[in-house]
Symmetry: C2
Subunit: 221 residues, 2 copies
DNA sequence: TCTCGTCAAGAGCACTGCTCTCGTAGACTC
DNA sequence: GAGTCTACGAGAGCAGTGCTCTTGACGAGA
């Protein structure tokens, strides 16, 4: 019976893909608060209500875009990693890939690392894709040495490592999380214009910081 | 009210203040994208068009709120600084004050450090207040030792220091900027829910990271 | 006192998210 | 192949939005 349904399913999948592509285009051009279902429908030759057959609400569309963005960024990070290279080099390559993806897809980066959409609750589906970048970075630092932590912090970091399914030591996990917040902070500052007029372009600033971070995490060659 | 003999100017200033207070309330409760001029007018007993006498557009209102937020955060940072204390301690206190302000005023923090409002161009007026926190941190690190930088980076950092009107060495400036991106990154992660379910509460994580940052910046006891 | 500028009010335009109903054409069942 | 079901797009409509324009009143300065 599934065989007979395929054409319908295919058409539906294609429509969903087309809607998301158009939504991404509008996101890029007009920003998230100017992304409207009516606009998407209009430029697809649909009537507005037809969109609701595929996405029951604007939030559902946003959720789909958010999951896609997490996946795309996660994939970029995974592809940039070369398990054969020295760990400090792997770290730097992945971080640069994250920044490159963010600069190439600013609207989608803001969607996932900018202010949360107000009134919007991220459903469970986003949790998995959201951790892909963290997983890559944690894997690279898996053999980094431990360092002392307070009991509370040690438990939080052990839990975090467990959630990422990694045998990394709690102390190393803490350093990875700290470093990741700085990487994300730098990318956000650059993207959100906090560096405007001062640190432009930010390539050297970012690369130098990332290299130092690798050392701080404990990936020294 | 019991106000009499108020000049036009005073009445106008009071109305503006009242509008901003109500707008902040709506911002806190419903998020930025649910902040509407009509809503503000309604809960003030105004008719919608009356608001436009005070703020010619929604963006103008947002700009006012953004400037106020930068100023409030800057003031919190400045008040937290105790010039008589050891520098590492000053650094930690200011960072903790920034986080505390952000946790107490999440909506306003997101307004200034979250995704830029699409289609909204920050006017010149926001530049001054925006630098107050950076200025406090830079002042604390003013005597930190220099470190080697590439020529490009050195120029950018010299310019940044000049913009902040500080005699800080370029290498120290670079470390301050890096550290500040991490502080902001941590606060953003916490506020935007990236730590959810893993690092909660984040007090110890933040305090430990900030203490290490002070050392990395070169504020060792 | 009189003029002028500021103010709130209200109607109105174009837009939004979302809901409902209604034919129809295609997918599945027998 | 005929018949049933259902997913689909069209269209109207509701309540809300930002913003504009006009109108009338009222208070402050000349």
């Amino acid at each position: 019976m599934a065989e007979h349904r395929t054409t319908r399913h295919q058409a539906r999948a294609a429509a969903i893909r087309q809607i998301k592509d158009e939504a991404r285009r509008q996101l890029r051009e007009d920003g998230v608060h100017n992304l409207s279902l009516r606009g998407v429908a209009r430029s697809m030759g649909f009537v507005s209500s037809a969109i609701y057959r595929y996405f029951p609400s604007r939030d559902e569309l946003l959720t789909a875009l958010i999951i896609d963005a997490y996946d795309a960024l996660g994939e970029a990070a995974e592809q940039a990693d070369d398990p054969g290279a020295p760990r400090a080099q792997r770290w730097a390559r992945v971080c640069r890939a994250v920044r490159a993806w963010a600069l190439a897809n600013p609207a989608e980066y803001m969607l996932i690392y900018g202010s949360p959409i107000p009134g919007y609750q991220a459903p469970r589906d986003t949790v998995g894709p959201a951790t892909r970048v963290a997983k890559v970075l944690t894997t690279i630092a898996e053999d980094a040495p431990d360092s002392p932590l307070s009991p509370t912090l040690a438990k939080q970091m052990t839990d975090t490592a467990a959630a990422l399914d990694s045998p990394i030591a709690p102390g190393a996990m803490a350093r990875v999380v700290r470093a990741w917040t700085q990487v994300s902070g730098m990318v956000s500052f650059e993207l959100f214009g906090q560096f405007r007029g001062a640190i432009e372009p930010a390539d050297e600033f970012f690369d130098a910081a990332v290299a130092d971070l690798a050392e701080q995490v404990g990936l020294g060659s």
